[in-house]
């Protein structure tokens, strides 16, 4: 193994980190925003609310992300109505295609994770909120979701880490994030061993940071030594913002 090549390619590939992170966090944010209302619909006892969401999560969890990406990137361009619509400005761009695929896919998994948490919230918590006169929306926002989010945080962290690694699929539609850069570098140097090893190290580093972040968040939300309510709220806002 060529250690020098390993080190230099690590440095070169590091320039792909911003795009990997952008894809991760943008699709995380979009997925989160989509998943919150969808998970409440999915947890609803009304069939006309829950069944359409079930169909959506079933399709997106039941097909490979790579296939979804190819359908969006290669497939949608064949539909005349889309080519002639304003959407085409975005959908002809591989970045937006990736973002769309990752967001929809991530939202499907996240919806099911949140749904589990929502359904596990004890009815007593909800009754207590009803008894003081809170509205259904206030109860969802202030009681159900915060309790549900805390209980599913470990599963959600897993989903986030999966998404980081899933962004490597963007390399198949010409994007030069970490994996895309690696493939380009390999085709120039014919040294796949060192270069993909370097890529792996970079992903491992990102995962390591994210794991640490979620562990800290978990400790914080579970009310380790009391911080002021305000700082905790700000921390949570930052999280949702970054996601």
């Amino acid at each position: 193994m060529d250690i020098t090549l390993l080190l230099t390619s690590t440095v070169t590939l590091a320039s792909g980190i911003p795009l990997t992170l952008l894809l991760t966090f943008a699709s995380l944010l979009a997925g989160f925003v989509l998943a919150v209302p969808l998970s409440f619909m999915r947890a609803s006892s009304r069939k006309w609310l829950s069944l359409p969401v079930l169909a959506y999560t079933y399709v997106f969890r039941g097909t490979p992300l790579l296939v979804q990406l190819f359908i969006i990137y290669y497939g949608l361009g064949q539909v005349g109505a889309i080519r002639s619509s304003v959407l085409w400005v975005l959908l002809r761009d591989p970045f937006w295609c990736c973002l769309l695929a990752f967001s929809l896919n991530g939202a499907a998994y996240t919806t099911e994770i949140f749904r589990g948490g929502i359904q596990a919230v004890a009815t007593g918590m909800i009754e207590a909120a009803q008894a003081v006169g809170m509205s259904p929306l206030q109860i969802k926002r202030r009681i159900i979701f915060p309790i549900a989010f805390r209980s599913v945080l470990p599963s959600y962290a897993n989903e986030v880490i999966s998404l980081v690694k899933a962004t490597s699929l963007a390399s198949t539609v010409t994007l030069l994030e970490i994996t895309g850069l690696s493939r380009k570098l390999v085709s120039e140097t014919f040294a796949p061993y060192e270069i993909f090893l370097a890529a792996g190290v970079l992903y491992l580093g990102l995962t390591f940071l994210l794991t640490g972040f979620f562990n800290a968040l978990e400790a914080r939300l579970n009310g380790a030594p009391r911080a002021k309510a305000h700082t905790r709220r700000v921390a949570l806002q930052q999280v949702t913002h970054e996601l």
Binding site: E127, A128, V132, G133, M134, G223, R226, A229
Partner: protein, 262 residues
Amino acid sequence: MLREPAADHGIRAERIQKRLGGNDVLRGVDLTVRPGEILSILGSSGSGKSTLLQCLNLLTVPDRGDIWVHGEKLAIRAISQQGGQARILDHRQVRRVRASMGMVFQSFNLWPHKTALENVTEGPVLVKGIRRNAAADLGRHYLAKVGLSDKADAYPRHLSGGQQQRVAIARALAMEPRVLLFDEPTSALDPELVGEVLRVMAALAGEGRTMVIVTHEMAFAREVSTRAAFMHRGLIEEESPPQEFFSSPVSSRLRGFLASHR
């Protein structure tokens, strides 16, 4: 029975029926709670006393029957012959009425992600629109009232059962309700923690508050209530002032119940 009760007169429930899981839990109960009254509801488990209490603020919607709270009739649609569930018709009204009736639950039901103080201030802030700073003062006042000034920043899981229930009482009080509903407030507590909760409740009773207490604590009911009711199989079998209720019960079932709980 059928005349409208005068405005502003406590709570009145008429002919309340509720069927749950194939059982007729309430079979046409009438109940009146006058302002300033402290009503204890006793009865063996399954007699429907908790369900009746939950009907008063519509946490359980009765299948049939009418409820007036402070002179206002609650808008509910009765169960239909076609099997349509009974339901609330005016959610805004119900929220307003619930805010005027504090409720304390058997299993405390504190929100685990909020501190004691936040549990207390959440209702005033969200429902009454009180500013956070003012609500925090209010919350501290009521936490002090239940003897937990030093626990404002503690999370529920770091509190004992008795402390949790006292926070729950402070949470109900902070809404400054006109009526307090207690649903077996000491049944989930270890015996040595029952006293601290009952002491807080007795102090509240001494303030002339209107209270409805579903309980198994005979001595407490006898001491504190102005009226006691005995429920049996979905109906109120007997109700009277506590002296008569406990000393010279009329119905043989109540006599048997009191004898077995002595």
